[in-house]
Amino acid sequence: MLRVDALQAIYPELKDRIVVTIMGAVAVELYTIGHRPNFFYLEHAMGLASSMGLGIAVAMPRHKVVVIDGDGSLLMNLGTLSTMARYSPGNLVHIVFDNASLLSVGGFPTATATGTDLAGVARACAIPLVTQADTPEQLKHAATGALAGGKLTTIVSKVEAIGPKSFHMDLPLLENRFQFKRALEALR
């Protein structure tokens, strides 16, 4: 599965949600499909998109929050799975695109290429619901179900290590930050 096809499949579910993504291909692809003021792209601080999502989910319990993570980022902050599981906000959905690669920085393989099983790690950390979704249809189904349900869910999706031709986004990061904060204020 191509990540861009996966994102396209869940875009209708995402467009009105609070969404936090990691940097790199995920951010560019979602931005290109259709940027929304309620989307935040964490362009650095690898590994912390899920921690930000946890902070937002705890602060805004009546709203659903979607984090779009990656294998390289999650491996940099595996402890986040244990922290998320500990508090298990039912309004948080954690999608992990696993391309087994640090695509944006040269395509070097991550540990998932040699067998680290992120869904298994999430289960072992006691995330209440962990699913795998390796086609756009499966992901749409899993994401729709997770957003409709009330359980912290981690969805791991294997995707190909193929990204966009350009990583350029016409959105200065501070503009994204202030726009996103205003969008959240309007939701409160």
Binding site: I56, A59, G79, T80, T83
Partner: protein
């Protein structure tokens, strides 16, 4: 345990007066009473992190969602969190109210704390993070409130160093 319960209470009340609703922490001796107070307080969500880096993300998320938070950390936790302080909080102009137990400084007997104690202030200064000290409980309410006010006005992390004189009774 000679960690000052009375002064921990003063600090906790100062945080409450700042309308702090989310606190993150990683267990640390000087912070035990503060962590217990947060845990027992139904008005506060305490998030116990596995590593302090996470706490920077949690507070950033809380800020963008419009909720005031505070970070309870040892100075070695601050050292562990320097990358996200730079590449999230400073980069994205996120205010952080960091209460840092100042281990390894004057009066320290544990050799293993001393290296971190000696580099804490120089690193805070190198990062351009404003620093307040808390040694006298009478200053707590004012200094913690002023630190939060500056954090929000400057959209920057601020550090309140909790000193041995305040935290430890011998």
């Amino acid at each position: 345990m000679p960690v000052s319960l009375a002064n921990s209470q003063v600090i906790y009340e100062a945080l409450k007066a700042c309308d702090v609703k989310i606190m993150s922490a990683l267990p640390e001796t000087w912070l035990v009473h503060l962590i217990r107070m947060a845990d027992d307080d139904p008005e506060v969500t305490l998030i116990r992190v596995a590593k302090e880096e996470e706490a920077i993300g949690i507070s950033a998320g809380a800020h963008l969602a419009g909720v005031s938070s505070a970070l309870l950390m040892q100075n070695h936790g601050f050292l562990a969190a320097i990358n996200p302080i730079v590449s999230l909080a400073l980069l994205y102009k996120i205010p952080l109210l960091m209460l840092i137990s100042y281990r390894g400084h004057m009066g320290e007997r544990d050799p293993w704390q001393t290296q971190g104690g000696m580099v804490t202030e120089p690193l805070l200064r190198a990062l351009g993070i404003p620093v307040w000290y808390l040694s006298d409980p009478r200053d707590a309410q004012r200094r913690i409130k002023d630190a939060q006010t500056l954090a929000h006005a400057s959209l920057s992390p601020v550090a309140v160093l909790l000193t041995r004189e305040l935290m430890w009774e011998e």
